[in-house]
Protein backbone atom coordinates (compact mmCIF):
# COMPACT_ATOMS: atom_id res chain seq x y z
CA UNK A 1 0.00 0.00 0.00
CA UNK A 2 2.69 2.47 0.82
CA UNK A 3 4.27 2.72 -2.63
CA UNK A 4 0.81 3.47 -3.97
CA UNK A 5 0.47 6.18 -1.35
CA UNK A 6 3.88 7.66 -2.15
CA UNK A 7 2.99 7.74 -5.83
CA UNK A 8 -0.34 9.41 -5.12
CA UNK A 9 1.14 11.99 -2.77
CA UNK A 10 3.78 13.01 -5.29
CA UNK A 11 1.32 13.08 -8.19
CA UNK A 12 -1.18 15.21 -6.30
CA UNK A 13 1.53 17.59 -5.18
CA UNK A 14 2.69 18.08 -8.76
CA UNK A 15 -0.85 18.41 -10.03
CA UNK A 16 -1.43 21.18 -7.55
CA UNK A 17 1.84 22.94 -8.34
CA UNK A 18 0.86 22.99 -11.99
CA UNK A 19 -2.73 23.97 -11.45
CA UNK A 20 -3.94 20.75 -13.07
CA UNK A 21 -7.55 19.76 -12.83
CA UNK A 22 -7.09 16.11 -13.76
CA UNK A 23 -4.20 13.68 -14.01
CA UNK A 24 -4.38 11.65 -17.19
CA UNK A 25 -1.43 9.31 -17.13
CA UNK A 26 1.23 8.23 -14.67
CA UNK A 27 4.27 6.21 -15.56
CA UNK A 28 6.05 4.25 -12.87
CA UNK A 29 9.03 1.96 -13.21
CA UNK A 30 9.59 -0.77 -10.65
CA UNK A 31 12.70 -2.88 -10.21
CA UNK A 32 11.87 -6.58 -10.36
CA UNK A 33 13.81 -7.42 -7.22
CA UNK A 34 11.52 -5.28 -5.10
CA UNK A 35 8.89 -7.98 -5.61
CA UNK A 36 6.17 -5.41 -6.11
CA UNK A 37 3.17 -6.98 -7.78
CA UNK A 38 1.96 -4.52 -10.46
CA UNK A 39 -1.68 -5.64 -10.10
CA UNK A 40 -1.54 -5.11 -6.39
CA UNK A 41 0.07 -1.69 -6.83
CA UNK A 42 -2.60 -0.69 -9.34
CA UNK A 43 -5.38 -2.00 -7.10
CA UNK A 44 -4.11 0.00 -4.14
CA UNK A 45 -3.66 3.08 -6.25
CA UNK A 46 -7.23 2.83 -7.54
CA UNK A 47 -8.55 2.49 -4.03
CA UNK A 48 -6.74 5.46 -2.56
CA UNK A 49 -7.01 7.82 -5.53
CA UNK A 50 -10.82 7.82 -5.49
CA UNK A 51 -12.19 11.36 -5.32
CA UNK A 52 -8.83 12.92 -6.11
CA UNK A 53 -7.75 14.54 -9.40
CA UNK A 54 -5.83 11.32 -10.12
CA UNK A 55 -8.78 8.97 -9.92
CA UNK A 56 -9.12 8.33 -13.64
CA UNK A 57 -5.45 8.41 -14.48
CA UNK A 58 -3.89 5.63 -16.51
CA UNK A 59 -1.30 3.98 -14.32
CA UNK A 60 1.44 2.58 -16.50
CA UNK A 61 3.77 0.27 -14.59
CA UNK A 62 6.91 -1.03 -16.19
CA UNK A 63 9.08 -3.63 -14.53
CA UNK A 64 12.81 -2.96 -14.68
CA UNK A 65 14.95 -6.05 -14.99
CA UNK A 66 17.99 -6.62 -12.86
CA UNK A 67 21.26 -7.30 -14.65
CA UNK A 68 24.05 -9.69 -13.86
CA UNK A 69 27.62 -8.72 -14.49
CA UNK A 70 30.33 -11.34 -14.62
CA UNK A 71 33.22 -10.54 -12.33
CA UNK A 72 35.62 -12.58 -14.47
CA UNK A 73 34.87 -11.98 -18.13
CA UNK A 74 32.74 -8.83 -17.79
CA UNK A 75 29.81 -10.13 -19.80
CA UNK A 76 26.39 -8.78 -18.94
CA UNK A 77 23.10 -10.68 -18.82
CA UNK A 78 19.58 -9.25 -18.59
CA UNK A 79 18.47 -11.52 -15.79
CA UNK A 80 19.56 -12.75 -12.39
CA UNK A 81 22.30 -15.38 -12.43
CA UNK A 82 24.85 -16.38 -9.89
CA UNK A 83 27.28 -18.09 -12.28
CA UNK A 84 28.41 -17.05 -15.75
CA UNK A 85 28.88 -19.55 -18.55
CA UNK A 86 32.62 -18.86 -18.25
CA UNK A 87 32.47 -20.16 -14.67
CA UNK A 88 32.87 -16.74 -13.04
CA UNK A 89 30.65 -15.36 -10.28
CA UNK A 90 28.11 -12.78 -11.29
CA UNK A 91 27.20 -9.61 -9.47
CA UNK A 92 23.61 -8.33 -9.53
CA UNK A 93 23.06 -4.73 -10.60
CA UNK A 94 19.84 -2.76 -10.43
CA UNK A 95 16.34 -4.14 -10.09
CA UNK A 96 15.76 -2.37 -6.79
CA UNK A 97 14.65 1.06 -7.85
CA UNK A 98 11.15 2.46 -8.05
CA UNK A 99 10.80 5.65 -10.03
CA UNK A 100 7.87 7.91 -10.71
CA UNK A 101 8.95 8.77 -14.23
CA UNK A 102 6.33 10.89 -15.97
CA UNK A 103 2.96 12.48 -15.34
CA UNK A 104 0.48 13.77 -17.89
CA UNK A 105 -2.17 16.14 -16.73
CA UNK A 106 -4.85 18.43 -17.95
CA UNK A 107 -4.36 22.10 -17.20
CA UNK A 108 -6.88 24.88 -17.67
CA UNK A 109 -5.95 27.59 -20.16
CA UNK A 110 -6.21 31.19 -19.01
CA UNK A 111 -9.30 31.76 -21.18
CA UNK A 112 -11.06 28.70 -19.70
CA UNK A 113 -11.19 30.45 -16.42
CA UNK A 114 -13.17 33.42 -17.74
Amino acid sequence: MSFALMILENVLRMAEENGARAVKKIRVEVGELLMVNPDQLEFCFRAISKNTPAENADLEIETLKAKSLCQSCGSELDSVHSRCSCGGWMEIRGGKEIVLRRIEMEVEDAQDRN
Binding site: M14, L34, Q40, E104
Partner: protein, 225 residues
Amino acid sequence: MHRIEIEAEINLMNENRRYARENRKILRENGAVAVNIMGAIGSGKTLLIEKTVEMLGDVKIGVILGDVVCSADYSRISKYDVCARAINTGKECHLDAHLIHETLKMMSGLDLILIENVGNLVCPVDFDLGENFRVVIVSVTEGDDVVEKHPEIFRLADVIIINKIGLAEYVDADVDKMERDARKLNEKAKIIKMDLKLNAGLGEWIEFLRGVLDVSRNSGRSCRT
Protein backbone atom coordinates in the same frame (compact mmCIF):
# COMPACT_ATOMS: atom_id res chain seq x y z
CA MET B 1 -7.82 23.05 -21.64
CA HIS B 2 -4.51 21.53 -22.63
CA ARG B 3 -2.38 18.64 -21.62
CA ILE B 4 1.06 18.94 -20.11
CA GLU B 5 3.61 16.24 -19.54
CA ILE B 6 6.04 16.44 -16.65
CA GLU B 7 9.21 14.44 -16.35
CA ALA B 8 8.94 13.77 -12.64
CA GLU B 9 11.94 11.48 -12.17
CA ILE B 10 11.20 10.91 -8.51
CA ASN B 11 12.99 7.96 -6.98
CA LEU B 12 10.52 6.55 -4.48
CA MET B 13 13.20 4.59 -2.66
CA ASN B 14 14.54 7.99 -1.64
CA GLU B 15 11.12 8.70 -0.19
CA ASN B 16 11.53 5.64 2.01
CA ARG B 17 14.95 6.92 3.06
CA ARG B 18 13.45 10.31 3.86
CA TYR B 19 10.78 8.74 6.08
CA ALA B 20 13.41 6.54 7.70
CA ARG B 21 15.41 9.66 8.59
CA GLU B 22 12.30 11.25 10.04
CA ASN B 23 11.51 8.13 12.03
CA ARG B 24 15.03 8.13 13.42
CA LYS B 25 14.59 11.74 14.46
CA ILE B 26 11.30 10.97 16.21
CA LEU B 27 12.98 8.11 18.08
CA ARG B 28 15.86 10.33 19.12
CA GLU B 29 13.52 13.04 20.35
CA ASN B 30 11.49 10.50 22.28
CA GLY B 31 14.60 8.86 23.69
CA ALA B 32 13.49 5.44 22.45
CA VAL B 33 15.42 2.61 20.84
CA ALA B 34 13.72 0.75 17.98
CA VAL B 35 14.55 -2.80 16.99
CA ASN B 36 13.46 -4.22 13.65
CA ILE B 37 12.87 -7.95 14.06
CA MET B 38 12.98 -9.85 10.79
CA GLY B 39 12.71 -13.52 10.00
CA ALA B 40 10.79 -16.10 8.01
CA ILE B 41 7.22 -17.06 8.85
CA GLY B 42 7.14 -19.02 12.08
CA SER B 43 10.77 -18.43 13.03
CA GLY B 44 9.76 -17.14 16.47
CA LYS B 45 9.47 -13.38 16.10
CA THR B 46 6.29 -13.02 18.16
CA LEU B 47 7.41 -15.44 20.83
CA LEU B 48 10.70 -13.53 21.13
CA ILE B 49 8.72 -10.34 21.69
CA GLU B 50 6.48 -12.03 24.27
CA LYS B 51 9.46 -13.34 26.22
CA THR B 52 11.23 -9.99 26.01
CA VAL B 53 8.19 -8.17 27.37
CA GLU B 54 7.94 -10.69 30.22
CA MET B 55 11.61 -10.30 31.14
CA LEU B 56 11.85 -6.51 30.87
CA GLY B 57 9.01 -5.60 33.19
CA ASP B 58 10.76 -2.41 34.27
CA VAL B 59 11.16 -1.07 30.72
CA LYS B 60 8.47 0.88 28.90
CA ILE B 61 7.97 -1.12 25.73
CA GLY B 62 6.00 -0.47 22.56
CA VAL B 63 5.35 -3.17 19.97
CA ILE B 64 4.57 -2.65 16.30
CA LEU B 65 3.32 -5.74 14.48
CA GLY B 66 3.47 -5.87 10.73
CA ASP B 67 0.72 -8.28 9.97
CA VAL B 68 -0.26 -9.42 6.53
CA VAL B 69 -3.93 -9.95 7.19
CA CYS B 70 -5.10 -11.25 10.51
CA SER B 71 -4.20 -9.97 13.92
CA ALA B 72 -3.37 -13.17 15.78
CA ASP B 73 0.01 -11.78 16.79
CA TYR B 74 -1.68 -8.61 18.01
CA SER B 75 -3.94 -10.53 20.39
CA ARG B 76 -0.91 -12.42 21.70
CA ILE B 77 0.91 -9.18 22.50
CA SER B 78 -2.00 -7.09 23.73
CA LYS B 79 -2.38 -9.45 26.69
CA TYR B 80 0.64 -7.70 28.14
CA ASP B 81 0.81 -4.28 29.63
CA VAL B 82 2.54 -2.71 26.64
CA CYS B 83 1.63 -0.24 23.95
CA ALA B 84 0.86 -2.50 20.97
CA ARG B 85 -0.14 -1.50 17.45
CA ALA B 86 -0.78 -3.71 14.45
CA ILE B 87 -0.13 -2.44 10.97
CA ASN B 88 -2.06 -4.22 8.30
CA THR B 89 0.30 -4.52 5.37
CA GLY B 90 -2.27 -6.01 2.97
CA LYS B 91 -0.38 -8.28 0.62
CA GLU B 92 2.86 -6.35 1.09
CA CYS B 93 5.75 -8.60 2.02
CA HIS B 94 7.58 -6.09 4.23
CA LEU B 95 7.16 -3.03 6.38
CA ASP B 96 8.55 0.27 5.20
CA ALA B 97 9.41 3.57 6.86
CA HIS B 98 6.30 5.27 5.60
CA LEU B 99 3.96 2.55 6.88
CA ILE B 100 5.17 2.85 10.45
CA HIS B 101 5.65 6.63 10.45
CA GLU B 102 2.28 7.65 11.93
CA THR B 103 2.39 4.85 14.48
CA LEU B 104 5.86 5.86 15.64
CA LYS B 105 4.70 9.44 16.07
CA MET B 106 1.99 8.23 18.45
CA MET B 107 4.38 6.12 20.51
CA SER B 108 5.95 8.57 22.91
CA GLY B 109 7.13 8.04 26.45
CA LEU B 110 8.65 4.63 25.67
CA ASP B 111 12.17 3.26 26.11
CA LEU B 112 12.08 0.41 23.65
CA ILE B 113 10.07 -0.20 20.49
CA LEU B 114 10.05 -3.74 19.12
CA ILE B 115 8.94 -4.01 15.52
CA GLU B 116 7.91 -7.38 14.13
CA ASN B 117 8.43 -7.24 10.39
CA VAL B 118 6.45 -9.36 7.94
CA GLY B 119 7.62 -12.99 7.82
CA ASN B 120 10.08 -12.96 4.93
CA LEU B 121 13.85 -13.17 4.55
CA VAL B 122 14.11 -11.30 1.27
CA CYS B 123 11.96 -8.20 0.94
CA PRO B 124 12.46 -6.43 4.30
CA VAL B 125 16.18 -6.04 3.58
CA ASP B 126 15.71 -3.12 1.22
CA PHE B 127 13.57 -1.03 3.54
CA ASP B 128 15.20 0.98 6.27
CA LEU B 129 12.49 1.68 8.84
CA GLY B 130 14.59 4.20 10.74
CA GLU B 131 15.27 1.54 13.34
CA ASN B 132 18.35 1.60 15.55
CA PHE B 133 19.06 -2.12 15.41
CA ARG B 134 18.28 -4.93 13.02
CA VAL B 135 17.68 -8.43 14.29
CA VAL B 136 17.27 -11.52 12.13
CA ILE B 137 15.80 -14.60 13.75
CA VAL B 138 16.02 -17.91 11.90
CA SER B 139 15.07 -21.31 13.19
CA VAL B 140 16.89 -24.59 12.66
CA THR B 141 13.67 -26.05 11.26
CA GLU B 142 14.09 -23.87 8.18
CA GLY B 143 17.09 -26.05 7.29
CA ASP B 144 20.71 -25.40 8.17
CA ASP B 145 21.35 -23.84 4.76
CA VAL B 146 18.89 -21.01 5.36
CA VAL B 147 21.67 -18.58 6.26
CA GLU B 148 23.77 -19.11 3.16
CA LYS B 149 20.67 -18.92 0.98
CA HIS B 150 19.79 -15.42 2.17
CA PRO B 151 23.13 -13.64 2.50
CA GLU B 152 21.93 -10.09 2.29
CA ILE B 153 19.67 -10.00 5.32
CA PHE B 154 22.42 -11.52 7.49
CA ARG B 155 25.06 -9.13 6.19
CA LEU B 156 23.06 -6.15 7.42
CA ALA B 157 22.01 -7.49 10.82
CA ASP B 158 23.23 -6.29 14.20
CA VAL B 159 22.01 -9.43 15.94
CA ILE B 160 21.53 -12.86 14.38
CA ILE B 161 19.46 -15.30 16.39
CA ILE B 162 19.50 -19.01 15.58
CA ASN B 163 16.31 -20.22 17.21
CA LYS B 164 14.72 -23.56 18.11
CA ILE B 165 18.13 -25.17 18.70
CA GLY B 166 16.37 -27.73 20.88
CA LEU B 167 14.81 -29.13 17.72
CA ALA B 168 18.09 -29.35 15.79
CA GLU B 169 18.62 -33.06 16.37
CA TYR B 170 15.12 -33.91 15.15
CA VAL B 171 15.53 -32.08 11.87
CA ASP B 172 19.19 -32.95 11.33
CA ALA B 173 20.29 -29.35 11.40
CA ASP B 174 23.88 -28.40 12.15
CA VAL B 175 23.64 -25.34 14.42
CA ASP B 176 27.38 -24.74 14.32
CA LYS B 177 27.32 -24.65 10.53
CA MET B 178 24.58 -22.01 10.68
CA GLU B 179 26.66 -20.00 13.10
CA ARG B 180 29.75 -20.30 10.87
CA ASP B 181 27.75 -19.20 7.82
CA ALA B 182 26.42 -16.21 9.73
CA ARG B 183 29.90 -15.26 10.93
CA LYS B 184 31.32 -15.56 7.42
CA LEU B 185 28.71 -13.12 6.14
CA ASN B 186 28.89 -10.74 9.06
CA GLU B 187 31.98 -10.25 11.21
CA LYS B 188 30.45 -7.83 13.67
CA ALA B 189 26.97 -9.15 14.43
CA LYS B 190 26.14 -10.63 17.79
CA ILE B 191 25.13 -14.23 17.18
CA ILE B 192 22.85 -15.87 19.72
CA LYS B 193 21.88 -19.54 19.75
CA MET B 194 18.43 -19.69 21.26
CA ASP B 195 15.47 -21.83 22.10
CA LEU B 196 12.50 -19.82 23.19
CA LYS B 197 10.65 -22.85 24.51
CA LEU B 198 13.62 -23.96 26.61
CA ASN B 199 14.52 -20.38 27.58
CA ALA B 200 18.00 -20.88 26.13
CA GLY B 201 19.97 -17.86 24.98
CA LEU B 202 17.43 -15.42 26.35
CA GLY B 203 19.87 -14.10 28.93
CA GLU B 204 22.27 -13.04 26.21
CA TRP B 205 19.49 -11.31 24.29
CA ILE B 206 18.23 -9.44 27.34
CA GLU B 207 21.80 -8.43 28.15
CA PHE B 208 22.15 -7.02 24.63
CA LEU B 209 18.93 -5.01 25.01
CA ARG B 210 19.90 -3.71 28.44
CA GLY B 211 23.22 -2.59 26.96
CA VAL B 212 21.64 -0.57 24.17
CA LEU B 213 19.04 0.87 26.54
CA ASP B 214 21.81 2.04 28.86
CA VAL B 215 23.65 3.74 26.02
CA SER B 216 20.46 5.41 24.86
CA ARG B 217 19.59 6.61 28.35
CA ASN B 218 23.05 8.07 28.91
CA SER B 219 23.25 9.84 25.58
CA GLY B 220 19.74 11.20 26.14
CA ARG B 221 20.80 12.61 29.48
CA SER B 222 23.89 14.32 28.10
CA CYS B 223 21.83 15.80 25.26
CA ARG B 224 19.30 17.36 27.53
CA THR B 225 21.82 19.03 29.83
